[in-house]
Symmetry: C2
Subunit: 111 residues, 2 copies
DNA sequence: ATCTTATATCGCAAATATACGATTAATGTG
DNA sequence: CACATTAATCGTATATTTGCGATATAAGAT
């Protein structure tokens, strides 16, 4: 049975969906907020702030990293995470423009 | 075992995450695109366009509706969907401002 | 009244995501 | 070198998502 039909959509649709997926959990939103509020790379205090176990936080960080939204360098006993603003902005723009272009035409004709 | 820790985050974080979740599948992005490209409410041709079964499309529509991103009126044998631009814009703005505010300070100090 | 058409819903199977504790790995400290 | 600290990874349980076929529903057409 052919599950997993995601590949049948355009690359852009998939990329955008992956970005959204990375943002689709409040823990990951919270992590990004913590990272954003810092002027420097944060070194692991995220676990103390979030109501989640260390392994769970680590997993969320991994997902954000896979999505390209954060970058992290492991340095032995401590690691250093910060937001990848470039990637973030790229997705945010794509996301916004996807609909804003069409909005003006559409908005009046709606039910 | 206490699963489902999502409630332990702020309402705003949860709302934003739910919005992102609604956008986290390429099929739903594609549906929104189809709806946006129309000047009128679309009446069910979405199934013909997407590579998914009718029941699956119906489910995705339901999720978009639950998230408040589209509105749909069922009228017997046909239904009428269109994008809820107001809700969409609200989320999009929240989403953008969440990080843009903090970006200026942060961007230089990053690793 | 029966048939057709369009769509929602139900029931199920498979895949993913979420969470945690235990373990491992890597480095710095006594 | 033994030990503490920090974070990644593994194994596992549970929950959620995704997808489809079958069925139900609702209205128009014949």
């Amino acid at each position: 049975m052919a599950f997993h039909k995601k590949e049948e959509f355009t690359q852009k649709e998939q990329d955008l969906a992956n970005f959204a997926k990375a943002m689709s959990h409040p823990a990951r939103i919270a992590i990004l907020k913590v990272l954003a509020q810092r002027n420097e790379c944060i070194c692991g205090e995220i676990v103390d702030i979030l109501p989640l176990a260390q392994s769970t936080v680590s997993q969320h960080l991994k997902e954000l990293k896979n999505a390209g939204l954060i970058s992290g360098t492991v340095d032995g006993p401590r690691s250093c995470y910060c937001i990848n603003w470039k990637a973030f902005e790229k997705f945010n723009n794509e996301f916004t423009s996807l609909f804003n272009n069409l909005k003006v035409k559409n908005e009046k004709a709606c039910c």
